[in-house]
């Protein structure tokens, strides 16, 4: 092999760089700090459900309200909510930048809900 003294170390360096994410485990856990509503302790479902499937819930709400005309959601505990992104969700989560956007930006998704739906039912913006 020509130039083995260059090629082999370079290959090793290349492999080390490529596999870097697999063997170099960082100590810090990746966290996103959200600003939770001050006046509410419970969301419509438990935190885990909201974290993993709020998008499916909203999708379901959209179909129910727009296509079927049903506007009331009953959660696992039997509490009833109006199925509305602005009027229900954003009533409590009133700061979109410090709640919705934090995770969405971190994971690189850009849902366009707010192109139409307003960010707060309290006016302004």
């Amino acid at each position: 092999m020509y130039h083995a003294k260059y090629i082999i170390p370079a290959l090793l360096v290349f492999l080390a760089v490529v596999t870097f994410p697999f063997w170099a485990k960082g100590k810090a856990v990746y966290r996103v700090e959200l600003k939770l509503p001050a006046n509410q302790t419970e969301c419509i479902e438990d935190t885990e459900t909201m974290r993993t499937s709020h998008m499916q819930i909203l999708d379901h709400w959209r179909d129910k309200v727009v296509r079927e005309g049903e506007r009331v959601y009953t959660n696992a505990k039997g509490v009833k909510y109006s199925m509305s992104l602005t009027n229900t969700c954003m009533s409590c989560h009133s700061d979109k930048e410090k709640f919705c956007d934090k995770c969405h930006n971190s994971v690189g998704v850009a849902p366009y809900c707010w192109n139409c739906h307003l960010t707060t039912p309290k006016g302004g913006k």
């Binding site: 959209r62 727009v66 296509r67 005309g69 506007r71 009331v72 959601y73 009833k80 909510y81 109006s82 509305s84 602005t86 009027n87 229900t88 009533s91 366009y112 192109n115 139409c116 739906h117 307003l118 707060t120 039912p121 309290k122 006016g123 302004g124």
Partner: protein, 259 residues
């Protein structure tokens, strides 16, 4: 059973009307300036139902001020922008006799009718051509006769606008938000690239309220169930001669005009 249900509905309708007239002052000033309370699940406890919603407009009772009051009530509540070009958005709009009834080919129409202004809106047809031509089923007809838009599905092809014989649909050529003067924070706006139109205030019917224009019109517009012989609209149609826009299009519009 049916009879008791009907009386309950009538009562609900009457009380909704009463509530409406009470809040008319608020309407005039624009909802945005008042502190809005978002509707909760309790607000949807007593929705209004019908087999076929329809509207009867008593055109004799309208003057320019009342027309504008109705248009303003509708457009403020629904965040309809006012764009000062031909790309304007309209849910509820006005026109003269010839614009409104282009297929009424009479000559020498009575002057007071010829110069009268008429309210125009989506007719919520029984056979809506817009629904037929929509390639994504974004516009669809509900069982109670309302022709609805699902903006989430609309791809902006504007077939429905070509299909509608009444010009009741508008396309958002641009982001409408900068052109909304008073924003009602409780109702969504639309976005660039979707078609929109009057919804017969489906969100208000779900709360047991009459449509915004009906409330604003102070009794000059009747709204109710066309299939219920005791309803306001059937009563108005029984007692007055009414016509519909472009009946020969075969769409069976749900908006009637008392001439």
């Amino acid at each position: 059973m049916d009879k008791t249900r009907r009386t309950i509905l009538k009562l609900a309708g009457a009380s909704a009307l009463g509530l409406g007239t009470g809040s008319l002052g608020l309407l005039g000033k624009g909802i945005a300036s008042a502190a809005p309370t978002p509707p909760t699940a309790a607000n949807y406890n007593s929705p209004l139902h019908a087999k076929r919603w329809a509207m009867v407009i008593d055109t004799k009772k309208f003057d320019d001020a009342l027309l504008q009051k109705c248009v303003k009530a509708c457009h403020t509540i629904h965040n309809v922008p006012d764009i000062p070009t031909r790309q304007n958005i309209k849910w509820l709009f006005t026109g003269d006799y010839e614009e409104t009834f282009p297929t009424e080919h009479n000559h020498f129409v009575a002057e007071k009718v010829e110069h009268r202004k008429f309210l125009m809106l989506c007719n919520h047809c029984t056979e809506p051509p817009c629904v037929r031509v929509c390639p994504t089923k974004a516009t669809f007809k509900r069982e109670d006769g309302l022709v609805m838009m699902d903006y989430h599905r609309c791809i902006g092809c504007r077939y429905c606008m070509a299909g509608c014989p009444y010009g009741a649909r508008s396309f958002n050529f641009m982001d409408p938000r900068p052109y909304i003067k008073e924003q009602n924070p409780l109702f969504p706006t639309r976005t660039r690239g979707v078609v929109e139109k009057c919804t017969f205030c489906v969100e208000r019917l779900a709360q047991g309220l009459m449509p915004a224009c009906v409330e604003a019109a102070d009794g000059a517009i009747f709204f109710g169930d066309l299939e219920d012989p005791g309803s306001e609209v059937r009563k108005a149609l029984r007692e007055n001669f009414a016509i519909r826009r472009k009946p020969d299009a075969g769409t069976q519009p749900g908006v009637y005009y008392i001439i």
